[in-house]
């Protein structure tokens, strides 16, 4: 697959089957099945699963491009989660089943362990799309190494919740759960590596969504007339939109850089070094900050209409705000990055930054 084909195919499918305006008006979620079917049929959902294991075996960069397009459409389906699950399972040589998947844990401090009997224990909080996905890909801590496991969510206890965008979210409790399949994680694949992949996927989605938000807000400012002229002619509104452009740019640049860094090492967690950590943490931190600022500006530009259920704006802003919490929030990543910098010391700060 090349970037172009992924971009074109994903854009066409999302535009045809999940246009945010159309599904915002829909009475039920009858659109969900056909959308997922199309994404799956095009091989996109298992882009990061090797061909030998039934996937598309696409480049790492293609998967990130798919996430960017999903962000542009404020994707209402677990496309990044399924991509990530496919990647995680593939690292341990496990096959990916058909259907939607999600990943646990997806927060830094959640810890799942695997006993000598191969059963899983522990808790994963705030797992996106844990309801409605057929399988869970799990990273668990074993006695000597990490273990990757494929789990049937029906075997776990789920406490249901909702994200800010009313997407299903759940706390999952693993009480001696027997995996459908499991294998040792390769060396280098630890929980941090999983968080890196998840955080960069979310950062890329955030960049895509902010880009769409900028276009939408700019268009609205050109159309909406007040005081006898389009509000986009007022300098105060122009400067707000210029700030939004800055935030969107920062998110896109940081996320694009991190995605490129990971693609350069072919998504191999054995090659995730300090530089990749800096890239991923920065992408996560900066894109989440941009989401906070960008959502506020977009709402300010749209005025009251943007605060309605009827308007499509919330599909973007509430997802942007919700995504900040997945795979480590920006505060957690900033804490870890800050501690690494402190260990490196003052004289290594600049060489570390300049190494990227």
């Amino acid at each position: 697959m090349t970037d172009n084909i992924v971009t074109e195919t994903a854009t066409r499918i999302f535009a045809d089957f999940a246009d945010p305006q159309t599904i915002n008006r829909a009475r039920d979620d009858g659109w969900r099945g056909p959308l997922w079917h199309k994404l799956e049929e095009a091989g996109l959902t298992r882009a990061w699963v090797p061909e030998a294991r039934g996937g598309a075996g696409a480049d790492v960069a293609d998967g990130f491009e798919l996430a960017r397009i999903a962000g542009r459409f404020a994707s209402p389906v677990p496309i990044s989660e399924t991509l990530l699950a496919g990647w995680l399972l593939a690292q341990a040589g496990l096959a990916s089943p058909a259907g939607a998947m999600t990943v646990a844990p997806c927060r830094h401090r959640c810890r799942i362990t695997v006993g000598a009997d191969g059963r899983l224990s522990g808790r994963a909080r705030g797992v996106p799309f844990a309801v409605g996905t057929e399988r869970l890909a799990v990273f668990a801590h074993g006695a000597n190494s990490g273990v990757i496991a494929l789990i049937d969510p029906a075997a776990c206890r789920l406490t249901m919740g909702k994200s800010l965008a009313f997407e299903p979210l759940a706390d999952i409790e693993f009480a001696n759960v027997r995996p459908l399949a499991h294998a040792d994680a390769p060396s280098g694949l630890d929980q941090t590596a999983l968080m890196i992949m998840g955080a960069v996927l979310r950062a890329v989605e955030t960049g895509g969504a902010l880009q769409a938000l900028l276009e939408m807000s700019t268009r609205y400012a050109q159309e909406r007339v007040a005081f006898d002229k389009p509000i986009g002619k007022f300098q105060a509104v122009q400067h707000n939109l210029a700030r939004l452009a800055g935030e969107a740019s920062a998110a896109m640049a940081a996320a694009g850089s991190a995605a490129e860094a990971i693609a350069t090492v072919a998504g191999d967690p054995g090659r995730f070094d300090d530089g990749i950590f800096l890239e991923a943490a920065s992408a996560r931190i900066r894109s989440a900050e941009a989401a906070t600022e960008g959502a506020a500006i977009a709402h300010q530009v749209h005025g009251a209409i943007g605060f309605t259920k009827e308007h499509v704006l919330h599909r973007y802003t509430m997802r942007l705000l919700s995504w900040r919490d997945d795979f480590g929030n920006e505060s957690q990543w900033a804490l870890d990055l800050g501690n690494r910098i402190a260990k490196l010391g003052a004289d290594e700060l600049w060489p570390f930054i300049a190494s990227r």
Partner: protein
């Protein structure tokens, strides 16, 4: 939206890393030899002639320029590495930096061959200091309100009027300045200004120092009284200077100097915090580092796109807008973060306080120089199709 914003994830090529090692070795040696002190931040020695000459000897001034003018014909990304390493080390580059960044490239584009052969090699040797004559008492951000007059006379022009906030003028060998050769027209208020090369040895120039709030002498008032400029010193189209600043502006606005001017505060903050900062400090430090990494990646991206012949004008304005606001806030954030640190190592604390005080004092200018925040946001809004 007229054009989508784009930040390609460009990496510096291997030759840049070779060069980076050379630059670091050079800087370390010069610091050891006492040519400059990175902690001597509020001294008047930023115009360090012997340092500039040594940099020139290395071939690091005008490194992208044609060899026949003393350049090395190397890439803008190599120039990028030199610029960022010098900034991060707080090296005294003022004497040659303006010429290296913008005056030289303007001469290459618009000056006669004779002038190029005369001046450019001197710049590359670090022997030539340039200033920029744009602002006037009644013309700052509104550049096209400039009224300093160039009146045609035999063989050239007579200049009368006043430029202000002119950095380097008291040290400069030349200025590149905008003078009014015609009145603006109804259709085009930008019409009528012409770009000139000014030899500071000319008679009819008075330079009056204006001390900035730090107490340092950087900018000046420059008064022209019947100063003669020969025809050959006209740079580009008469009355058409407004057409001439496109890609130069992108270079001027997107470089590492647009987010690293207070960077030493961050270095000293890390020193003060030590290897086990508390949660609050570590988290705040992480956010600052994420910002500077992102800004640098954006800046490299714009420079890479420029090297590839693109004109990312809006992207460059975004880099300067975000970068200058960040470097302006940095000392204030650092002060808050360091508020609860106690250290026995008073030496570290003293260095931090000194960098912090100076950065806090210069912070207000960062979002003014080279295009204010308001001007930049206007350019970005135009890029979005709003103006």
């Amino acid at each position: 939206m007229s054009t989508a914003l784009q930040f390609d994830p460009i990496r510096l090529p291997p030759e840049c890393e070779v060069l980076r090692r050379e630059v670091r070795a050079f800087l370390a040696a010069e610091m050891a030899a006492g040519t400059f002190d990175p902690n001597a931040i509020d001294k008047d020695d930023l115009f360090n002639a012997s340092f500039s000459q040594k940099v020139g000897k290395k071939g690091w001034i005008g490194i992208t320029w044609p060899k026949r003018y003393g350049g090395q014909e190397r890439s803008f990304l190599e120039r990028y590495v030199i610029t960022e390493e010098f900034r991060a080390a707080n090296a005294p580059v003022r004497r040659h930096f303006t010429a290296d960044r913008q005056s030289g490239p303007v001469l290459i584009k618009y000056a006669s061959e004779a002038i190029k052969m005369d001046i450019l090699p001197r710049i590359t040797r670090g022997e030539c200091c340039f200033g920029i004559g744009m602002s006037e008492p009644n013309s700052g951000s509104d550049l096209f309100a400039a009224s300093t007059k160039a009146t045609k006379t035999k063989g050239g022009y007579l200049i009368n009027g006043t430029k202000v906030w002119t950095s380097n003028a008291h040290q400069a060998d030349y200025l590149i300045a905008l003078f009014r050769t015609s009145a603006a027209t109804k259709e085009n208020r930008r019409h009528g200004l012409t770009s000139f090369l000014v030899d500071m040895k000319s008679s009819g120039i008075a330079i009056n120092p204006i001390y900035n709030l730090t107490g340092l002498h950087d900018f000046n008032e420059v008064v022209f009284e019947d100063m003669f400029v020969p025809d050959s010193y006209v740079l580009g189209e008469i009355d058409g200077a407004w057409k001439q600043a496109t890609s130069e502006l992108a270079f001027e606005r997107s470089g590492p100097e647009r987010f690293l001017e207070t960077f030493t505060v961050l270095i000293e903050l890390v020193r003060v915090l030590g290897d086990k900062p508390d949660v609050r400090a570590a988290e705040a430090l992480g956010r600052l580092v994420a910002q500077v990494h992102t800004l640098r990646r954006m800046s490299v991206s714009v420079n890479g796109m420029l090297q590839a012949g693109k004109e990312p004008i809006v992207e460059a304005s975004v880099v300067k807008d975000l970068g200058t606001i960040w470097e302006q806030k940095l000392p204030h954030r650092a002060r808050e973060i360091a508020a609860f640190t106690e250290t026995d190592d008073l030496g570290n604390r003293a260095a931090f306080e000194e960098h912090l005080a100076f950065a806090t004092m210069i912070a207000p200018k960062l979002t003014l120089q080279g295009g204010t925040t308001e001007v930049l946001r206007g350019i970005i809004a135009r890029g979005l199709g709003l103006r």
